[in-house]
């Protein structure tokens, strides 16, 4: 198999070697699951598609709001916002961009099959005022509306109709349509070639309205799931940028005079979710009841986690243990609540015994092996931690293309997930991860944690205008879910990108890679 692998690498090297000069070769651990900007609310996919599609309100290099396809926006009543659209913008197929496309895109993002509902849940109606003006009416006052719009990408009404892609297809049901493979956005790059799982090529959009800061004309994106293969691709010069750099290889790349590593804090929080809804866990040896419904069991698992060993040994120090589902850089972070339950194996055993499981129990755990930094190893370490209190984990390690559809169907008892609030605000965390699941809420609350008090607070946070009061409500909700042990927070991982010395780029803390800011020497 090694010769075959070498042959593939050689083949890639040859095909790379014949490409034109200002071509950027990027290798990341995973691929974007679909080219449809509304089909999956996942950082990797939305970050990649952010090069092709654009939102009304964009983010700059520091993640602050900046005009995107809308040039100005203001609130004309407590619940109505008016957006003026950018003049002279065209889609990649040449058709002009206007308010019809905005109305259509919101309808699409709010409709069946869309995974973008956490961002659009507060919106009541999107109206066309004239060709370059739209109004968005919210059900209740929604002070952070512009913040949540930065991930809602605009599509062409005409193109979607012509391609029979008026609706996003639900990845969870395994359906795909034309928009899964083709794209027609307004962004700085357009999609030239798409081979899911192996190669995606973007070329510069010469008609883009913005000022080009980077010099990359063509981007060849290759997912390379295997850590050593990805590092080998960078070391041998086949690719210009890799993300992530495996933690064990950071020193090796730093030591290479032709290469460099860019590290930075990431807003992503890695945590463990537990099925708290089913009356009987899938695949467990406990019949007739669900151990995770008992707070003592959840707390026992929490206390059995040796987070310090995971930080030093598995993450090699490149992680910040956390007690909250959000990072310090996210609005609403509560430093006073950021205290983990103590690491206490004996206490955990006692809790399990009290809950009626003195000898523990068996439960399967779903874990991606190509999504987060050292995800596979974290899960193995957790399985070892929990074995000490008698909880036997049957570990199911899967590629994210299998893992995500499965856990999104809630076909899981115990899972590892990471979350970056795309709005950089605690409301998105609470709404997506902790609110009782419904069509628009709790879309990533895959264990169906439910606390009516938390739900009520989330509703109030959404419409609260006073920042101090809003912060108080956020902290109250965070405290409630923490007391419930709604999830087992682990840590915030750190970003580590490896690249050739001649590459300059911007590394936003949300782990997206905008190609428009990349320069190659």
């Amino acid at each position: 198999m090694t010769p075959r692998r070498l042959a593939i690498l050689l083949g890639l090297a040859i095909s790379f070697g014949t490409s034109p000069a200002a071509t950027l070769h990027v290798a990341q651990a995973g691929d974007a699951t679909s080219m449809d900007p509304h089909s999956l609310n996942e950082t990797m996919q939305l970050g990649f598609l952010g090069n092709i599609y654009e939102p009304l309100v964009a983010r700059d290099k520091t993640l602050a709001l900046t005009p995107g396809l809308a040039t100005t926006w203001r609130r004309i009543s407590p619940t109505v916002w008016r957006f003026s659209l950018r003049k002279g913008v065209t889609f990649h197929d040449g058709s002009p961009f206007g308010s019809d496309d905005v109305v259509f895109s919101f309808k699409r993002a709010m409709g069946d099959g869309s995974d973008m509902k956490p961002f659009t849940s507060g919106i009541k109606e999107v109206r066309k005022v004239d060709d370059l003006t739209v109004e968005i009416e919210t059900a209740e006052p929604y002070p952070i509306l512009p913040d949540v719009l930065s991930e809602v990408y605009m599509m062409s009404h005409k193109w979607c109709e012509a391609n029979k892609a008026e609706r996003p297809v639900d990845k969870r049901k395994g359906i795909e349509n034309a928009a899964s493979f083709k794209a027609d956005g307004t962004g700085p790059y357009r999609l030239k070639e798409r081979q899911p799982g192996s190669r995606t090529v973007l070329v510069r959009n010469a008609q883009w309205w913005g000022k080009a800061e980077g010099n990359v004309d063509e981007v060849v994106f290759t997912p390379i799931a295997s850590d050593p293969t990805r590092v080998a691709a960078l070391l041998s010069g086949e690719v210009d940028v890799i993300e992530p750099v495996p933690l064990q290889d950071i020193d090796k790349i730093k030591a290479d005079p032709a290469l460099k590593v860019m590290q930075g804090p990431e807003l992503r929080t890695i945590f463990i979710g537990m099925d708290q809804k089913r009356d009987e866990l899938k695949g467990s040896n406990v019949k007739g009841r669900n151990p995770f419904k008992d707070r003592r069991v959840r707390l026992a698992l929490y206390e059995a986690i040796d987070i310090e060993a995971i930080r030093t040994k598995i993450m090699r120090g490149a992680a910040t243990p956390t007690a909250l589902p959000l990072a310090p850089g996210v609005n609403g972070f509560a430093a006073n609540l950021n205290k983990r339950a103590p690491y206490d194996v004996e206490g955990a055993k006692k809790l399990l015994a009290e809950a009626g499981y003195p000898n523990g129990f068996e439960v399967p755990m779903n874990c991606p092996n190509d999504r987060y930094v050292n995800d596979e190893q974290i899960c193995q370490a957790l399985a070892a931690n929990w074995a000490r209190i008698g909880v036997k984990i049957d570990l199911q390690l899967e590629s994210k293309s299998i893992y995500f559809p499965k856990v999104l169907r809630r076909d899981t008892s115990l899972y590892l997930l990471g979350w970056t609030p795309a709005t950089y605000d605690a409301h998105n965390v609470l709404l997506s991860l902790l609110q009782t699941p419904s069509a628009t809420t709790g879309t990533f609350n895959l264990g169906s944690y439910s606390n009516p008090k938390v739900d009520e607070l989330i509703g109030r946070i959404q419409s609260e205008v006073d920042p101090d009061q809003r912060l108080r409500l956020i902290h109250e909700a965070l405290k409630l879910q923490q007391d419930d042990v709604a999830m087992l927070p682990l840590h915030q991982q750190a970003l580590a990108w490896g690249m050739k010395r001649g590459v300059t780029l911007v590394q936003p803390a949300d782990d997206t890679m905008p190609y428009k800011w990349i320069n190659l020497k």
């Binding site: 040796d306 070892a384 049957d394």
Partner: protein, 319 residues
């Protein structure tokens, strides 16, 4: 041979066995074996691997499958003779703090069980299909041989990947022995073809021999002829094939596990150990991949050398 009268039912059997053993020990094959340093060495290594695998539970200093005993503080310790190594872990530990020596011992057991298991299964399927095909002939023969041709037109690893994938879909939440059974099935489905073709060819020759004709004439049923008369006469080459295939199956299992579709990483086989260790080659933690790799080479090489020798020894024309 004398017939002792006291326990007529046991001793003749034992005596016959003893006689058979003596015939074997005095025979050409044994003589050849004892005078072939390669065969002797290979047999010793293979026997060593077998002993290690069988008694892993007794010999291994730690139990790598008992997750409760793993300690991340011991993660990635180098071999004992290197700086930072510990006497507790003679050849170091992996990323989870698992003792590599114990992991290799248990991994060898898994690799051997899967290897031997899949050879036994493919032997059963292949010999059965080959016997029937060669003895019955006609349309059934044509059908079985076309199935073989189709199987041969795919690379073995591809079929194994396919079966393994289907197995994972059918038993998505498989626990315990199921993944291993799927793996054994996946490997044997690619292995049986060779037996079937070999046995069919030999059966075609044997079925025209006089002793088969005689058996037919005296009214012996076709199943009995196949089982009692033809089978013993075609077994020699099959044994050679089987020995070589044990080595191949172990490598296929390692490949599948290396690709991440074999046995789960919480109970690693040699291939899984190499896959997990592969990530640390660049960072200088070479022992995690290299030692399981050496073990894999030792098993596969010794079994293959034994098979080669057996082929030469059983084939008078090559001597």
């Amino acid at each position: 041979m004398a017939q002792p009268s006291s326990t007529p039912s046991v001793v003749p059997g034992r005596a016959r066995l003893l006689a058979a053993f003596r015939r074997f020990a005095d025979g050409d094959v044994m003589h050849d074996f004892l005078h072939s340093p390669v065969a002797l060495g290979a047999a010793l290594v293979a026997l060593g691997c077998l002993v290690v695998a069988c008694f892993a539970g007794t010999f291994a200093p730690h139990d790598p499958f008992d997750l409760a005993t793993l300690d991340l503080d011991n993660a990635r310790l180098p071999p004992a003779w290197q700086a930072g190594g510990s006497g507790h872990f003679p050849i170091g530990t992996d990323a989870q703090g698992r003792d590599l020596l114990s992991a290799i011992m248990f991994g060898t057991r898994i690799s051997l069980v899967v290897g031997v298991g899949s050879v036994v299964l493919s032997l059963l399927i292949g010999v059965g299909a080959g016997l029937v095909s060669g003895f019955v002939g006609g349309r059934l023969d044509a059908f079985i041989m076309r199935v073989c041709d189709v199987m041969l037109s795919f690379p073995a690893i591809l079929i194994a990947l396919l079966v393994d994938g289907v197995g994972h879909v059918l038993f998505p939440d498989a626990t315990g022995a199921t993944p291993f059974l799927v793996l054994i099935l996946a490997i044997s489905l690619t292995g049986w073809v060779q037996y079937a073709r070999t046995v069919r060819g030999l059966t075609l020759v044997e079925r025209e021999r006089e002793y088969v004709q005689a058996a037919r004439v005296t009214g012996v049923g076709p199943l009995r002829i196949m089982g009692s008369h033809v089978l013993p006469n075609v077994l020699g080459p099959v044994m050679v094939l089987a020995t070589i295939q044990v080595g191949q199956s172990i490598v296929v299992e390692a490949t599948l596990s290396y690709l991440g579709v074999g046995v789960p990483p919480t109970s690693p086989s040699l291939g899984t150990l190499i896959r997990l260790g592969n990530a640390y080659l660049f960072s200088g933690e070479w022992w995690i991949a290299v030692f399981p790799g050496c073990m894999l080479i030792a098993i596969a090489l010794s079994v293959n050398l034994l098979g080669d020798w057996l082929r030469d020894a059983l084939n008078p024309r090559l001597r």
